[in-house]
C-alpha cells in the first residue's frame, strides 16, 4: 500500500526478468517445496492409505473401502470417539470459563507493565516439557501419590484422582490453559476501554457490561481459544495414557495402539482421517461463529 504510492525506480532490479524470477524463487519457493513435500504430501498419503489393504502383514496399494467399513462399524471405535469429543468439549468449556475472569483481571485491572509480566508468565509454560508436567501430576495425584499420602497423614480418606476422566481432564487443562488464557488476555486487551466506561457511565452493572459489551467485542478471540482447546486436547495421547490409565480408551490412544502395536496402518489412517474431519468441522464452525456478523 505504501509502496504503490512511491514510484519505485527499478534500475537494476528490472535488468532481466529471468534474474528477477530466480530472486523471487530463491526466497519464496523453499517454503512451498518443503511444506509441500513433507507436510502436504504425508497428509495426502494418509488419505490414500485409508484405501489400501494389508496382505500378509504388508501394506499394499489397493482401492478398497474395507478399512472404512471395518472401522466405522466397530463399536469401541465409536465409543472412544464420543468419549474423546465429550472430554475435549468439556476441556474447551472448563478452560474458557477459567480463563475469562483471569483475562478480565489482567486486561482491565493491571498496569501495562504488570500485564506484560503476566503475559510472559503465560508464555513460559510452552517451553516446559508437557511430558514432565503430566508425569508430575501423576506422582502427585496417583493412588499412592503425594496428595493421597498427605490426606492419609491428616486422617482423611484417600481419593481416586488418576486413571479416570478427572485425571485426563487435569492433563488436558494443563496442556491447553496457558494458550487459552493468552488468547483471552489478547482479545480482552483489544476491547475499547471507552466502550466499557460508556457502559459504566450509562449505569450498566458490571455483569451487564461483561455480557453485553466485553464478551461481544472480544468474541473472536474467545471462540478461537475454545476451538484451540478442543483441537489440542483431542489430539493429545499423553494424558489419556498417563493420567487416564488407557481404560476406557480415547480415540488418540486407538491410533497409537494401531500404529505401535500392529501393522494395521490403513486402519490407523482411517481413525486419523475421522479425527481430521472432526477437527475441520469444529474449526469451521468456530470460525463461522467467531466471524459471523463481522465486516
Amino acid at each position: 500500500m505504501n509502496a504503490s504510492k512511491i514510484v519505485a525506480p527499478k534500475p537494476r532490479l528490472a535488468r532481466s526478468s529471468s534474474g528477477r524470477k530466480v530472486f523471487a524463487f530463491f526466497w519464496g519457493a523453499p517454503l512451498l517445496i518443503w511444506q509441500g513435500a513433507f507436510f502436504f504430501a504425508p497428509l495426502v498419503f494418509l488419505i490414500v492409505l485409508t484405501f489400501w489393504s494389508v496382505r500378509s502383514f504388508r501394506v499394499q496399494p489397493d482401492a478398497t473401502l474395507k478399512n472404512w467399513i471395518k472401522i466405522l462399524t466397530t463399536d469401541y471405535v465409536w465409543s472412544a470417539y464420543l468419549r474423546s469429543v465429550v472430554l475435549s468439549a468439556s476441556c474447551s468449556l472448563i478452560t474458557s470459563a477459567a480463563a475469562f475472569p483471569f483475562a478480565y483481571f489482567v486486561a482491565f485491572r493491571l498496569s501495562t507493565r504488570a500485564r506484560l509480566f503476566a503475559t510472559c508468565l503465560l508464555i513460559v509454560p510452552f517451553f516446559t516439557s508437557y511430558l514432565v508436567r503430566v508425569y508430575t501430576w501423576r506422582t502427585m495425584l496417583g493412588q499412592h501419590g503425594a496428595v493421597n499420602n498427605l490426606l492419609a497423614w491428616i486422617g482423611l480418606p484417600t481419593q481416586t484422582m488418576t486413571d479416570n476422566f478427572f485425571g485426563v481432564m487435569v492433563g488436558f487443562v494443563t496442556l491447553t490453559l496457558p494458550l487459552v488464557c493468552l488468547l483471552h488476555v489478547l482479545s480482552l486487551s483489544y476491547v475499547d476501554k471507552r466502550l466499557v466506561e460508556a457502559a459504566h457511565n450509562l449505569g450498566a452493572r458490571p455483569l451487564t457490561t461483561v455480557l453485553r459489551v466485553i464478551i461481544p467485542s472480544s468474541r473472536t478471540g474467545l471462540i478461537l481459544g475454545g476451538a484451540f482447546a478442543f483441537v489440542l486436547s483431542f489430539g493429545d495421547f499423553v494424558s489419556p495414557d498417563l493420567l487416564g490409565g488407557r481404560n476406557p480408551p480415547l480415540i488418540s490412544l486407538l491410533i497409537i495402539d494401531q500404529v505401535k502395536g500392529g501393522s494395521n496402518w490403513p486402519g490407523a489412517a482411517v481413525i486419523a482421517m475421522i479425527m481430521v474431519i472432526t477437527l475441520v468441522i469444529v474449526v469451521l464452525a468456530a470460525s463461522r461463529l467467531a466471524y459471523s456478523g463481522r465486516k
Binding site: 498419503f45 475472569p101 513460559v124 488464557c181 500404529v259 474449526v283
Partner: protein, 276 residues
C-alpha cells in the same frame, strides 16, 4: 481511568489470577523441587535433599546419546527453518501474487494440525518413500513444525521496516540480492537470531512427531516419553529441570533480542511511515 468499574468482581477475579498461575506452575515447580528429593517416591513434606537423580541422569549412556541427538537435530532444524521462514516472510512482505493466501496457509498450517496426526502421516509417508528412521527424519519433520514460528518472528519485524528503504537501496544502485544482504538482513538480524533460538527450543522439546519418525534414534524428549511410560523415577524430574533450563535460556535470549535491543535506525525510519 484504567478501572472500568470501581466495585464488582475485583476480589474474585484476583483470586482467579492466583488460582490459574498456581495450577499452571504447580507441576513445573513441584517437578523442579522433587528433582532434588532423596526419596524415590515424592512425599509431602519433602524427605531429604540429594543430587542423586542428576547423578543417575549424568551417568546414563542412553540419556547422553539422546541429549546429543536432540542437540544435533535442533542445530540442523533451526537454521533450515529460519532460512525458509525468512524467505517466506520476505516474499510475503515484498510481493503480491496470485494464490498468496494459499501459499501462506500451506506454509503456516502445520502447528494447527495435531502432532498425533502429523506424526502418523509422516511415519507412513516416510516409511513409504524411504525417509524413515534416521536423525534426518526428525530434522525434516521439525523443520515443517518450526518454519511457521520462524516466519512469524521475522514477519513481525519486517512490518516495522519501511518499504521505501528497499527502494532507496535500488535507487542507489544496489541490485535485489545486495539489497537483501545489506538492508533487509541487517534490519532483521535480531529477529533472525531470535527465530533461531525459538525454533531450536521448539525442536529440543518436541516428542510426539520425533517419537513416530525416529525409529531407534530416540531424542531426549522421546527418551523422557519412554521413561514416563515405564516406572516412576525422579530421574524424569531431573531431566525435565535440565531441559527446562536449556529451553528457557534460549527463549529468554530470544526475548531480550526482540524487545530490549532496539535495532538501530528503526525509530526515525518508522516515524516517517504513513498511518493507515
Amino acid at each position: 481511568m484504567s478501572r472500568p468499574h470501581s466495585t464488582g468482581f475485583g476480589f474474585g477475579f484476583g483470586a482467579a489470577l492466583v488460582a490459574i498461575y498456581a495450577f499452571i506452575y504447580a507441576p513445573i515447580v513441584i517437578s523442579f523441587i522433587f528433582s532434588f528429593s532423596a526419596e524415590r517416591f515424592p512425599t509431602i513434606p519433602l524427605g531429604g535433599v540429594s543430587l542423586q537423580w542428576y547423578g543417575f541422569v549424568w551417568s546414563d549412556p542412553d540419556v547422553h546419546a539422546a541429549f546429543w541427538r536432540s542437540i544435533n537435530v535442533a542445530a540442523l532444524a533451526a537454521p533450515i527453518a529460519v532460512f525458509i521462514g525468512f524467505g517466506a516472510a520476505y516474499t510475503d512482505y515484498r510481493s503480491k501474487f496470485f494464490g498468496k493466501a494459499l501459499y501462506l496457509t500451506l506454509g503456516l498450517l502445520p502447528p494447527l494440525v495435531p502432532v498425533l496426526i502429523l506424526g502418523v502421516a509422516m511415519l507412513f509417508f516416510f516409511a513409504k518413500v524411504g525417509l524413515f528412521g534416521g536423525l534426518y527424519s526428525i530434522v525434516i519433520s521439525h523443520v515443517v513444525l518450526c518454519t511457521p514460528f520462524a516466519f512469524t518472528v521475522v514477519r513481525l519485524r519486517l512490518t516495522q521496516v519501511n518499504p521505501a528503504l528497499e527502494q532507496a537501496a535500488w535507487n542507489l544502485g544496489a541490485g535485489p540480492w545486495r539489497t537483501v544482504g545489506s538492508v533487509i538482513v541487517p534490519m532483521c538480524l535480531p529477529a533472525i537470531v531470535a527465530a533461531l533460538l525459538v525454533t531450536a527450543a521448539i525442536s529440543f522439546d518436541e516428542f510426539a512427531v520425533a517419537w513416530f519418525v525416529s525409529g531407534m534414534n530416540e531424542t531426549l524428549p522421546v527418551r523422557v516419553l519412554n521413561f514416563v511410560q515405564g516406572q516412576a523415577s525422579p530421574r524424569i524430574n531431573a531431566i525435565g529441570s535440565l531441559t527446562f533450563t536449556i529451553s528457557m535460556l534460549l527463549v529468554m535470549s530470544a526475548l531480550i533480542l526482540l524487545f530490549f535491543r532496539t535495532p538501530q535506525g528503526s525509530a526515525p525510519i518508522d516515524a516517517g511511515r504513513d498511518k493507515p
